[in-house]
Symmetry: C2
Subunit: 202 residues, 2 copies
DNA sequence: AAAGCAGTTGATTGATCATTCAACCAAGGA
DNA sequence: TCCTTGGTTGAATGATCAATCAACTGCTTT
């Protein structure tokens, strides 16, 4: 089992799926980018769909190392970590002239009737992401109102990120992303204010 | 120019693109659903892409009649109209077991490098939607803080709707939609409170 | 009636694509 | 040395698909 070749397939497919989507990426595209041949790919994967599964597993398993750790370097405050993560998506958009957003989100909307296995992997990616955000929210302690549902807020932050990325990509204008994130920031400020008022009653 | 046949193509393509996406819908799919033949389709449209353009134009031109008017029937309060519109997406999700969300959003993320013409149509659809929302926000007058940017908030509501739909579809669970909308409702309540405090200073 | 035109038919074409397979290679163990 | 195992090669296959086109229909105009 040559893990190196397999990994090259997964990494190439990761790039291509993010760039062109799953359906528009042909097996030939993956082969030409990896300088390999079809039999070799089919030695490791039963079919194209299984390459997608491997890609989604790689995202799922690599979120800490490849997404969170770089975004959070030197940032300790849990709330700032949330916005630093959103900032990472922002720079990703900017460096691609607003064409690449969240690869998981793109795949989630592109695949209308996905295999249960693929859907579970998409869901697991989302759950991993919101899980990390929720740990930040939990770490914020009483800076947020005690009544606030941290899990629901974490899902909401994913909601906002995905929706903001969608609009920025469609308009090819980062302003749409920025304004949605600013709205979210305003909501946080209101939560902080409410929590402060609850802690120090008038 | 037989408008009837052309319209049948557009309506069938609308359904199919919403159901399976643009790329997964073959011209043969459209033909079998319309009981027509390929030459007939290519008589009206230079190519498959132009069918997509016609579909997006239909959505753009039909938003009032097909989306807003039904959702707002019997609802006058501008804020409630916003949540009624979100409710329309909710029932659309529910009646399809969380498989169909927003057709424009799906297409926007599926098409990674769309024609400028297609991208403009996607953007026009989004702009129409947020424009309608913004008119509601404007109509809400001083129930919202004067400092609040109505245009940005309208974009944010689209952001939330699209992100919420994405998660509900991925998890096949309306709860993800509901919780995001509830968060948005909470944000509105905080805005109302802030506006009230500004109107009646302590 | 003749001509012209919008619309339709449906077989055909040529490209693209995922997948298969038989042959081949290299290293390691018996 | 021979066999096995894991991996590679690349041509071939069969399916699918967007698009074409020449022939045809029926309606309207002259």
């Amino acid at each position: 089992m040559n893990a190196d070749t397999r990994l090259r397939f997964v990494l190439a497919a990761m790039d291509l799926f993010a760039e062109k989507g799953f359906q528009s990426t042909s097996v030939a595209d993956i082969l030409s980018r990896t300088q390999a041949h079809s039999g070799s790919l089919y030695h490791f994967f039963p079919g194209k769909q299984d390459v997608l599964a491997a890609v989604l597993e790689a995202y799922r398993d690599g979120i800490e190392e490849w997404l969170l750790a770089p975004a959070w370097e030197g940032i300790d405050d849990p709330i700032e970590r949330i916005f630093a993560l959103l900032g990472a998506y922002r720079t990703h958009l900017l460096t691609s002239e607003c064409t690449y957003g969240c690869p998981i989100g793109s795949l989630a909307l592109e695949l209308h009737e996905p295999d249960p296995a693929i859907r579970d992997l998409l869901a697991a990616n989302f759950a991993n992401w919101t899980g990390a955000i929720q740990r930040c929210l939990d770490a914020a302690g009483d800076r947020l109102p005690a009544t606030l549902d941290r899990g629901a807020l974490a899902e909401f932050i994913l909601t906002v990120m995905e929706g903001a990325v969608m609009q920025a990509r469609t308009y090819r204008d980062i302003g749409y992303f920025d304004r949605s994130i600013a709205m979210l920031r305003g909501q946080f400020d209101m939560h902080f204010e409410a929590a402060r008022a609850a802690r120090v009653p008038a």
